[in-house]
Amino acid sequence: MAVTVKTFSSATEAAGALSSDRSARYLGGGTLVMRALNEGDVSISTVVRAQDQTLIRIDASGPRITLGAGVTFARVLAERDLAFLHAPARSIGGPAVRNMGTVGGNLFAPNPYGDFAVALLALDATVAMQGGFGSRDIPIEEFLQARDRQAGTLVLSVSCTRPASTEAFRYRKIARIKPKGGSVITLAAHLPISGGRIAGARIALGSMAPTQIRARAAERALEGRSLDTATIAAAASAATEGTSPSDNALGSAWYRREIVGVHLRRLLSGQE
């Protein structure tokens, strides 16, 4: 079925078109919306696009980085100042998908996708959104929890603070097919150290719930402690708390619960 394509020069106009039409979807890199159209998704009757340079801007020079929603993973990988995000960007798709898929789109990618959003969740990112009546910034966790209701708003950019060191941010995607494959589980950890102790631990998990979630019990086990064997063991054993994984072709819910602690332990202890 043919759809109406509306192309705007500004993100604000595109956001207006998106908010006024329930059957409109924003087209970024195409890996989600074109796929839905190819599958015959009749709920989409309008495709909205914006050719706004602000959507493809990367600001990675300072301590706080901002990625326009339309920035592709290939561009993240080409940016030396974004080295801390290279592991999650590289874990997505093959080269063609990385040339197309965008940072903003990944926030909407359902399981077993959305790996970049797992990294951004561990980094406490902020999502800048534009609705029909103005823009606002919301924490990524809040965004992800209400993701199903975000269809009428346009994501403009995502920003986060650069981790203090390469050790402070860690990422691990478990896939059956290498180098490319959907996520069995995805883990990201941000472990800022202050005076030898972890202050502000963030553990984010993908494929362990309907959306990307934080492993709060594991975070509590790490908070205020040094990253020693006992602390790592406590965090690993708390990893499943609050999770609700499901079965899919890549793994069962049972399997995901079994392995998440093992991989969290390996991630925190720096094992390959």
Partner: protein, 158 residues
């Protein structure tokens, strides 16, 4: 619903077509231009057999909205051969038995071309990474990897 006029460069030749809203580039190439080299596999971005180069960059034509390529340059396998001669990659695929059923071959060749255009002497790991978005169910990949390395080696010594 009215058709949308669309012009772009297809293997070095300017083309003009009319597309329906929402038409993907794969359908535009196959049904409106008659270039049958990009194949329809999954329609989901999982198999890579519809791969084409857009302004030299590897893209999945089934997930590309046709009208977004207005004014851009599209390369498909159809444009790869050099006159009556096969492209060195095509020759290497034949010499190394890298095509069995052949359905993945157009996408594999475009992914390989995207790699070699950017990196003329890739390592084996770089070749594996470059075709990681392309699924082959026949060959077990080894002959394909060998063919791409052979083409790169031939090119380097030529």
């Amino acid at each position: 619903m009215s058709k949308i006029p669309l012009q772009f460069r297809h293997n070095g030749r300017d083309v003009a077509i009319f597309v329906d809203g929402g038409t993907n580039l794969l359908v535009a190439l196959r049904e409106l231009i008659g270039d049958m080299t990009p194949k329809f596999g999954c329609g989901q971005g999982g198999c890579g057999t519809c791969s084409v180069l857009i302004d030299g960059e590897l893209h999945l034509s089934c997930l590309t909205l046709a009208e977004t390529v207005a004014g851009r340059s599209i390369e498909t396998l159809d444009g790869m051969k050099q006159g009556p001669n096969l492209h060195p990659l095509q020759r290497a695929f034949a010499d190394n038995f890298a095509a069995q059923c052949g359905y993945c071959t157009p996408g594999m060749l475009m992914a390989a071309k995207a790699l070699l255009d950017r990196n003329p002497s890739p390592t084996r790991d770089e070749v594996i990474e470059a075709i990681s978005g392309n699924i082959c169910r026949c060959t077990g990949y080894e002959p394909i990897i060998n063919a791409i390395l052979a083409a790169a080696g031939g090119r380097a010594s030529a």
